[in-house]
Every structure is written in C-alpha cells, then in structure tokens.
C-alpha cells in the first residue's frame, strides 16, 4: 500500500476498509479495537478495582511541522491526552483516536505517525480502543489533524484541585522548561541552530504514580502545555486566591532555550511544554515528593521553584535573579518576537 491518501480512503468503501485494517488495527494492535464494533466495550469491574472516579478528557493536535526534533504529532497526541488524565491523579487506561487527513497526504507519513502513536501508547501503558478517520479535500485541512479522548481511573482518596494551594505550600516542576516551544521554533527552520533543542514530549502517568506513592495528598497538579509555566501558575493563583512566588534562579531552563529566547525576545516562562508538570504540596511533603520525582526518568531534573503565600492574592510573582520582583501575568495574545 504505497502512494497517497485520496478521498476514497474516507468514503466508507473498500479503500477505507483496507486502510483501517492494515494501518490502524494492524498498527495499534489490541483486542478491543480488533473487534471492529462501532464502539469499544470496557469491563466495569476492572475499572472499579482501580479507584472510585472516572477521569475523561479530550484534546486535538494540529502541530506544524508534523515531525520535529524528539517527537511528532502522533507522540504528542498520546502524551497530551495521557498527561491531562495523569495530572488529575488518574491512571490513564483507554484512548480514542480520530484522524482528519488532507487529500494527498503520503501514506508513508501516516504510517510513521501511527507507529509513533503505538510506541508512545505502549510506553504510557494505554490502549487505543476506538477510532475514526475522515479525509477532506486538499486545502481543507493542513496534512493531518488528530483528536484523542482518554479515560482513566482516579484512586480513592486522591483529591488534586487547582483551588487547594495553601500559604506555606511548595511549588515543584519536573525538569527543564520551554524545550518544546523552542524545538518548534527551531524546527520551523527560522533559526538554524547548531545545537537543536529536542521537544520534552513524554507521558507523565508513571511519574505521577510515583509522586502519589510518596505523597497521596498532592494539593495541585497540572501539565504546563500552551501558555507555559506562567499559564499554569496563574491558573493555580486565580483558583486558590493565593500568591505564588517563584525564584528565577531555581527555574530549570537550558542554555540553548535561554539563547533562543534572548535572540527572539521571547520569555521562557510562556514557552510551551509537552512533558512538564507543576505540583503544589504541603511544605513537609516537598522533599519526599522531590526525591520520588528525581528517582523517575521523567523527573530526573525536578526542582522546587517557589512557595505559596497569602498576598498579593491571585498573583504570580517572579523574584528575579537580579534582585528585583515582577508580576508574571497571562499573555494577552500570542507571544510575538520583538522588533529590536
């Protein structure tokens, strides 16, 4: 099966059947999908045994370019949804996968994306159990869009919410920030760096499990994707009505990422991440959680980056390495490079 995607691949006939059988069912390979019913059927008993609440989330992936240093849209489509489940304390279990293909997409591109999804799903311990494919006219979509929805189970007793940040709590991050945003800028070919930055795209389910084992009472947990670290910190500050103080010198930022930001006039706090989470825990839990994070491959470079106080309520304050302070607000629009 060589060549390109045509409208026939989405028409419900033989071409579509063949695409689904060979590429998707063969590619993702699990019994629930292979049954080829119109829906996946999940055993309730198995779910109930793991916890007392279902977590359910969805996300769409439209990244350009499709392949970038350290990842691709397929890997992103798994990790993004898995991570949205994991940061609720849920054990991610099942995903759906909807694909919108642009007519003319090389089949080989699709094959590479599917292989990447399969490998990432295995790494994350989830199964793709149901799916859908549409083909649209050339120009009606940009090569390939993916939507994944996911289901996970939250263990009893876990209560992670943005509003739970309390004065005295410590703020942690699981490693280098801004890698994904810098990698995408670089992959668009606008900078031609000598040392390309790789995306940090990775599933976080295992890391969260390890953190919960060290401290079941994690107060807040979110992955810092679009909007960057600044976005998540502001969500916590607003929801909890407390002030989040960040120490600039404690932030793990690679020199190459800082370099990209210096050249373009971008702020690493607003760069996207795809494998980074921010946790807020009680002061006495900070060291044990940090230790558990550092013992896991997805948290090797974890750090305590700040502390929660009462005022100024609802704000994020950065204590600069230079000795000053400034507010870290939400971005007004897209982050745009400065003129000079």
């Amino acid at each position: 099966m060589n060549g390109t995607i045509t409208l026939a691949h989405g028409a419900g006939g033989r071409a579509m059947r063949e695409l689904i059988d060979t590429l998707f069912v063969g590619g993702y390979g699990n019994d629930l999908l292979a049954a080829l019913e119109d829906q996946a059927r999940l055993e309730l008993d198995a779910l109930v045994a793991r916890g007392d609440r279902l977590a359910f989330t969805t996300d769409s992936y439209v990244v350009d370019p499709l392949f970038f240093p350290g990842g691709d849209i397929g890997k992103l489509a798994i990790t993004g949804t898995v991570n949205d489940l994991a940061v609720g304390g849920a054990r991610p279990l099942y995903l759906s996968c909807g694909m919108i293909l642009e007519e003319g997409l090389p089949l080989d591109t699709l094959r590479r994306v599917v292989a990447s999804m399969k490998a990432t799903a295995e790494e994350a311990g989830v199964q793709i159990v149901t799916g859908d494919t549409k083909v649209v006219h050339r120009g009606a979509a940009d090569k390939l869009f993916i939507n994944t929805a996911g289901i996970g189970v939250i263990p009893a007793g876990v209560d992670i919410r943005a509003a739970r940040a309390r004065p005295g709590d410590r703020i942690l991050v699981n490693g280098w920030i801004g890698d994904h945003g810098a990698a995408i800028v670089d992959a668009r070919g606008e900078l031609a760096l000598d040392n390309p930055v790789e995306t940090d795209c990775q599933p976080l389910g295992g890391l969260v499990e390890a953190m919960l084992a060290a401290c079941p009472d994690i107060h807040c947990l979110r992955d810092a994707t679009r909007g960057g670290l600044a976005g998540v910190l502001n969500e916590f500050a607003t929801a909890s009505g407390s002030a989040l103080h960040i120490d600039e010198t404690a932030l793990p930022i690679r020199d190459t990422v800082r370099g990209v930001c210096e050249i373009l006039g971008l702020d690493p706090l607003y760069l996207a991440n795809e494998g980074k989470l921010v946790a807020i825990v009680a002061p006495e839990d900070a060291e044990p959680v940090l230790e558990a994070m550092r013992a896991h491959p997805a948290g090797r470079d974890a750090a305590i980056i700040g502390e929660v106080t009462e005022s100024p309520a609802g704000s994020v304050i950065l204590h600069t390495g230079f000795g000053g302070e400034r507010i870290v607000d939400l971005l007004v629009g897209e982050q745009l490079p400065r003129i000079c």
């Binding site: 000053g324 003129i339 000079c340």
Partner: protein
C-alpha cells in the same frame, strides 16, 4: 550562560545601588523632588520591567519611560495604510512580529491576516527579499519600521534588490529618527526631566555626536546605555555622578558595542536610500518636524507608497488619552484617566498600551508591584 549572566549579577547590582545612594545627597535639590531620568528606548523600558529594576532603586529616582518604542508610536492611520496594502490580492505583506498586533482604526494586521490577507512574520528585511525572489508573480512589501537601529538593514536590502534587479519588492517606510524627538520633548514647556539614558542600538549606528546638543544646548547629562540590567544601573550611576559633580556631557556606558563615531557603512547606506520627511506624525506626541524618513526619488520604484494607492488618512488620538503627558514624565502611567479602565493591553486606546515595550503596558503587565511601591512612597 556566558556573556549574559555576567550582566545580570545581583552582587554587582547591589554595589551599584549603594554607590547611587551615596551620590544622591550631593545633588542640589534632590531632597525637594524626585530626580526624573528618562530612558528613551523601549528596549530599556522592557529590561527595567523584566528585572524589576524600578523597585530596587532609591525613592529619590523616578524613571520616565520615553517614546522609543517604534511599534507604540505608529499612528493609527499608518496601520490602516498597512492593512490596505496587505489586503491587495497580489501582495505578500511582511512585518516584524510585534507590529502585527498594533490596532488600526478598524483592524490590526493580525485581524487582516485572519480575514485572508497574506501577512507573514519575518526576522529581517532580507527574509522579505528572499520571499520576493521566490515569488516573482507576487509583490512583496516589507513594513520598514524602527529608529536608526533598523534603518541600515532596510537600506542595504533595497540596495541589494536594486543590484539584483528585483522589481516585485517594495518598502512601506515608517522609519523614524531619534534626535528630533528628544528635542521635541526637551522643548515642551511642562518638561521636568533631569537626565537621559540614550538608546544603545541607535547610537551603535549614529554614534555619540548627535546627542551632544542634549548636554551642550539643554544642560542635561546623557549616557549611551546598553540593554542588560547592569548596563542600565551603571548608566544611572553615571548620570547621577554627573549631576552630583555638576557636569553635563555625553558619556558612553555601552562601549563594548557603540563606537563613538557610529557605523559609517550603515550611515552611508541610509543616506543613499532615505531622506528626511518634513514632518512625521507620532501617536501620543503629534507631528514632529524631520522625525521620519522616506525613500529618495532614485528609489521610488521600491516605495510601496508611490507604487500603490494608500488611504493616508490622519486619525486623531482619542481625546481622553494622556500618552503625551506620560511620555514627558508629567504624569505617571497609572495617573492617566483611562489607564486600566478603558485602556488595557487587550483594548489599547493609547500608544503606550500597545506593545509590551510601552510604559503603560509594561506597568499593566509587570509593574503592579512598582505601582504599589510608588503609591506607598507618595502617600
């Protein structure tokens, strides 16, 4: 990170601030009202807010954030002209990123792009010329914007296009000049500024000499300043030392980049391609004589304004805007009637709320702490 962290060393910052504190009592009348020091350049304003410099300074120093943000001071009518050019079907309109958000009277370039105009972000005018080479059936217009800093690269790009005989490339020229603008501020009757930090990157091109009139004719110390936080602190220390010693002259803090004579090759290219306009309209400051450049007659075929019809309508600044008074240090940003109410970064009414380098936007975004500190100081 090498060559960056050296210029952000907190110990050196503390030492400089101590030095400044020792010098202050030697300045006559320093106890009567705060010393007003204007940083002209938007790049400096950005650094001051990004590193929280303002709260680190003694209360006797008040920084006035000048008009040196080319994106902010672009009048709405010019943005409307941009949009009109960008909406021509044959045009690929190229621009620096932060100019895309500046509101015109009806829309910004970002909105025009969303509605189908072919607007592309570039990092250099040479990127725009490359697009012209690659798209011979389209007209590529570069939105030339900025002070003397960006003029040489635009001029050299025009000269390259001329050499290569590329005829589908043109400029929409909005370059502006520093010196007439500083002069206009110095000439305004309500001006109280005691000293200036001169823009480092502009000086890299024009040299030190054009700023001598500030010291010689107006008796104000001025220091050519770099863009790292220690550069700014060191320059503040230098102007305060001048004030304390009763001197006033042009000093150069940014010697690692700025040669006293400037960049002669760059200036030559600029003089070849551009000539002064009689006047140019600024948002917030109104019309200033000789404060902009246009393309010389010999290069008219690269001038988008002569190649295509543009509406060129003058759109007045909203009357409630007090940008001019903020720019001259007469009022502080948060003392403006519309600041933070009708005028916010989401819905900018005045020039200074437009780009993150504008004083009002910077206060809104980063500076609430500084505002609280200042309010504490004054009452």
């Amino acid at each position: 990170m090498k060559f960056v962290d050296e210029f952000r060393d907190p110990d050196k910052a503390r030492a400089l601030i101590r030095e400044i504190e020792t010098l202050l009592p030697q300045i006559p009348r320093a106890d009567e009202r705060p010393l007003q020091i204007m940083e002209f350049c938007g790049g400096h304003t950005h650094t001051i807010f990004r590193y929280g410099l303002e709260q680190m300074l003694p209360g006797a120093i008040e920084l006035v954030h000048g008009p040196g943000c080319p994106v902010c001071v672009l009048p709405m009518g010019r943005v409307d002209d941009c949009v009109a050019l960008a909406e021509r079907p044959e045009v690929i309109f190229t621009t620096f990123g932060d100019a895309m958000r500046v509101p015109g009277s009806k829309k910004s370039l970002l909105q025009a792009k969303a509605e189908g105009a072919d607007v592309r972000m570039v990092y250099s005018p040479l990127d725009a010329l490359a697009l012209a080479r690659a798209n011979p059936d389209r007209e590529v217009i570069f939105f030339a914007l900025g002070f003397e800093t960006t003029m040489p690269s635009t001029a050299l790009t025009v000269l390259a296009a001329e050499r290569e005989g590329i005829d589908n490339f043109s400029l929409f020229c909005n370059h502006i000049t520093t010196v007439p603008t500083i002069k206009a501020i110095l000439d305004s009757p309500d001006m109280q500024i005691d000293a200036f930090l001169a823009p480092g990157h502009v000086s890299m091109v024009v040299g030190e000499a054009p700023f001598r009139f500030v010291a010689e004719d107006y008796g104000k110390p001025i220091v050519v300043t770099g863009f790292e936080p220690l550069d700014i602190l060191q320059s503040l220390w230098m102007v305060i030392r001048q004030l304390a010693e009763g001197r006033c002259e042009v000093e150069n803090q940014y010697r690692r980049i700025v040669p006293p004579e400037g960049n002669s090759a760059g200036l030559e290219a600029v003089a070849k391609v551009f000539e002064l306009r009689e006047f140019f309209e600024w948002r917030g400051l109104g019309s200033i004589d000789h404060s902009g450049v246009r393309m010389r007659e010999e290069y008219a075929h690269f001038d988008a304004e002569r190649k295509f019809p543009v509406p060129s309508l003058k759109i007045a600044d909203p009357r409630s805007c007090q940008c001019g008074e903020v720019l001259k240090g007469v009022i502080r940003p948060w003392e403006c009637k519309v600041y933070g109410r009708q005028c916010t970064p989401q819905t900018p009414m005045g020039a200074l709320m437009v780009s993150s380098e504008g004083a009002c936007a910077a206060y809104y975004q980063y500076g609430r702490l500084a505002v609280e500190a200042q309010r504490g100081k004054t009452g």
